[in-house]
Chain length 272, copies 2
């Protein structure tokens, strides 16, 4: 196989398998190529990925060594993308009664969802994360997008037990905004004890949902390493019960519906 063919095959492999450690002999055998040629291929791809703001190839030399594609979104590109999301959300026809905003069209676009996943995966790229946890329904596509860049599984918390998941652990918690008692359920076999997780959700007001997930995860002795929400509303900021999180977007005055504004979320301060 010629270099040009190898470059196409390798680029596809890395983009399709982020954060998967692969030994060099796997590639030299697959492509019937010398180690030195393969090494040059990897240099070319690494350089190109960096220049395109896609991330980089992490190479480990020696026995047991190999290469891994670390997708980390260029910070500049992340901010441009977040500003585009802000523009999309700053449309008064999106405002719904009760302090909500219509985002289903944005969350329904697989390409947008994938980009959001890339941004979060970049923020969490230095952390030890073994699984992404979300709660049904709206957080699910975002959780998969983040998980695919981190190469870890997704675990879905439900608000009602389902017969198709076997025995479950459930907790009750007080919803932040409505002060109602709510339930969350996770199948027993979905998470091993001591797993390092990040929590992903689409929207946060006071933070009751995130707090509920956190309590449920305690039952599984899971360690919450990070929390990411696409959008937060600042109406109940004073009463917020969740403090350490990354949001891409912040919506101001959504509840009062007076002078609603959309700006960058806590992502910016995290990076600066």
């Amino acid at each position: 196989m010629k270099r040009s063919d190898r470059l196409v095959a390798l680029t596809n492999y890395f983009i399709s398998n982020p954060r998967q450690h692969t030994s060099l002999p796997y590639f030299t055998t697959k492509f019937d190529a010398a180690k030195s040629s393969l090494s040059e291929d990897l240099d070319i791809i690494d350089q190109r990925f960096r220049e395109e703001g896609l991330g980089y190839l992490h190479r480990i030399s020696g026995a047991g060594g190999g290469v891994e594609y670390i997708p980390s979104h260029d910070e500049e590109a992340s901010l441009i993308f977040i500003d585009q999301l802000c523009d999309m959300l700053a449309d008064s026809s999106r405002i719904l009664p009760g302090g909500y905003i219509y985002m289903s069209d944005i969350l329904g676009n697989p390409k947008t969802v994938r980009q959001i996943g890339h941004v979060f995966a970049s923020v969490f790229s230095e952390m030890e994360i073994d699984a992404v946890v979300t709660v049904a329904t709206k957080g699910i596509p975002l959780a998969y997008a983040v998980a695919s860049f981190l190469n870890v599984p997704v675990v879905i918390v439900r608000r009602d037990p389902k017969v198709t998941e076997g025995s479950s652990v459930s907790i009750n918690y007080v919803s932040g905004s409505s002060r109602k008692i709510q339930t969350m359920v996770l199948p027993k076999r979905s998470l091993k004890e001591g797993t390092n997780v990040c929590i992903i959700d689409d929207f946060m007001q006071a933070g009751g949902t995130i707090t509920g997930i956190t309590s449920l995860l305690k039952e599984f002795q899971a360690n919450v390493q990070a929390i990411g929400v696409l959008a937060e509303a600042d109406d109940e900021e004073d009463e917020r019960i969740v403090h350490d999180y990354t949001s891409l977007i912040k919506i101001h005055n959504l509840m009062s519906q007076d002078n609603i504004q959309v700006s960058r979320g806590s992502f910016q301060s995290h990076k600066n």
Copy 2:
């Protein structure tokens, strides 16, 4: 930019943007390359994609022409992958009371989900599909995987109306297996009239859920072009109300729990 750099950048572009028509001048400008060089690049990528079973580059010449990556999974590779899924499911600890099977771990793996999406997108690749429709919760990751390969949005039907989605259309239907009256809801603004859709779900018994979605879609004058389910159970096959669909896996005797077997679904007969 050298050919090797262009090949890396172009491969990433196509893999990340399937089914997106792009004009050649976009690339010649971006890479500051001659049309003839770019054309050779595309030949190399097209050939490699075909040999790796990833699909092909569809090129349209003339004014308004350009190039588009059509991801179509190699049939052989699809069958090998389906057989792997069958092996994973053929594990008696997965069987749950009431004719269900535990699949959350398989559906929680983003890479597996993506491969399932690739297989379905290949089956539907010649059809006119403008959106993928699924019902919360388990079908969601599969729907996004299919949609990302088809480059179309996802629309999620719910079983309960949500305050965050605005005014909705709802229908009642009779569940196939339990004969209970159930509800399905879709926000009014989620689907334009006359949209061509495919329906994706994780599991089908008698087909009540799919029939429910179909009825709801009639309210939106949508045209159901195709139906894809990951797994079907054959217990209620005689009473099945949905006939034209593609399943990857078929589970035999799940309800009776006696001599349960897992085999390839209707995918095989579709292709032969």
